[in-house]
Symmetry: C2
Subunit: 248 residues, 2 copies
DNA sequence: CCAAAAGTGTTGGCATTACACCCATGC
DNA sequence: GCATGGGTGTAATGCCAACACTTTTGG
């Protein structure tokens, strides 16, 4: 801030917010992508997002873009700032700095194409990680870093419940963990840990009969935000990129 | 990004980086503050930082400001992005968005006052938390959120070693944990956990005899970035603000 | 000069708890 | 077939005590 009287070589930049919205559909992790309608990267898939307006808070802009581009009400999902990307060459239009947000939510129907929202669609994350889909800008990097953050947060916080529509069963919650982490969990141990974590789950006392098997007990989210003790993925296999966790 | 042809009501903002630099001195957590030399907030303590230049990467700007304002060589410390603060009213000069960086490093001598650096000084974090010192802008918020992040990261990563000058003793490392967490640890359990964590510490085989007591074995950092298993603070006392952890 | 005390690092021993793996039962 | 619950052996942890190495104190 002190350079203001010095060189005055400070950048004026446009500021955008980009939204990385994850959900679990059919036991698989999905991300919400839109198809870009204009240059640059016209026709390419990208994360929803847009310019921050004059005098607008960053968080407000994120919620607004969420509503405008996908029709989703932000109050239903977990939203937090992920990281800011400011590579001077990341946008061919000039200096554009983007604040990326990570959103986790239950599987939701999208506003039908043809309304205000451009073609927004849930896309399996696997397809992008496998390289079958190439995202615009540096959105591929954002997606990977956000995924690492989400995997990490599932261990130490109660955000996993944000993926479920209340009330939910323990099996539904377990499938969230399995989808995000990409591994299978022992149902018995999962139950003991998750029900033992203080303030994580509130039993409703009711049960839901599914197509097959014993009826499952129903739960709602508890007040706890941090998971203690944490719910560790047993095998720290495939050592995560160190730079991506930020713990953030 | 798609709004570019719409309202064009998108903000042009100046972009700054601010540096939250923590270290452990005399078994107490300190932060590096400067005294502002100009309006606004002239004379008030603040985090070091400054404008990002045209065409400059955010990380580069952080390292440059670190060097310019404090004389510290960034290669010696752990540096990572913390969060971006974009409240439209956070700077009276106009729309200024700041990308805050969290830096952790060993106790280092500061460039003497009188050189290029303005009065930069290590300040006990306790004094700020107690409200005895009021920081400029929203730097008080940044400090608190960064502290929460640092406390969290000590549990799950090996960054604690960034506070120590190599080679270091287990007692020095333990005092880092105690200073950041503000509680006392059992030396025996600490040793067991920290030496058992794969890739955290590399024994040098040498010992250092201090002024008093038995000579302590010396260690260097190992290659591990993540701590498995994590080193949990036994009591999750004083439940941390949920929004601050980010795991970040 | 030697002996005792004090301070710090290091090692070890339980008792308790958490956990992974497996099996039994209810619907 | 799936959810639920219990049981058992292994590993991790918290607490506590003993030991090792050094300097300081004081006769």
């Amino acid at each position: 801030m002190i350079e203001q009287l010095r060189g005055r070589d400070h950048a004026q930049a446009a500021v955008t917010v980009d939204l990385l919205i994850y959900t679990v559909r059919d036991d698989e992790l999905h991300v919400l992508l839109i198809e870009r309608g204009h240059a640059p990267f016209e026709g390419r898939p990208a994360l929803p997002g847009g310019y921050v307006r004059t005098g607008e808070h960053l968080d407000t802009a994120a919620l607004r873009e969420l509503q405008e581009e996908t029709g989703i009400d932000g109050s239903r999902l977990h939203l937090e700032q992920l990281r800011t990307y400011g590579d001077p060459d990341r946008d061919p239009r000039g200096r554009v700095i983007t604040v990326a947000y990570l959103a986790l939510g239950p599987d939701m129907p999208l506003a039908e194409a043809g309304t205000d929202a451009r073609t927004a669609a849930w896309v399996p994350v696997r397809k992008i990680l496998d390289g079958h889909i190439d995202l615009a800008f540096d959105h591929g990097v954002i997606l990977r870093e956000g995924l690492e953050r989400a995997r990490f947060q599932l261990e130490y916080t109660t955000v996993a419940a944000a993926f479920c529509t209340e009330p939910f069963t323990l099996a539904e919650l377990r499938r969230v963990y399995e989808a995000v982490w990409g591994l299978q969990l022992d149902a018995s141990n999962f139950r003991r840990k998750v029900t033992g974590a203080h303030g994580f789950l509130l039993p409703t006392g009711e049960h839901r009969t599914q197509e097959i098997g014993r009826p499952a007990a129903l739960y709602r989210r508890g007040p706890a935000q941090l998971l203690s003790p944490p719910l560790l993925r047993s095998s720290d296999a495939g050592d995560p990129q160190p730079s991506l966790l930020a713990l953030h």
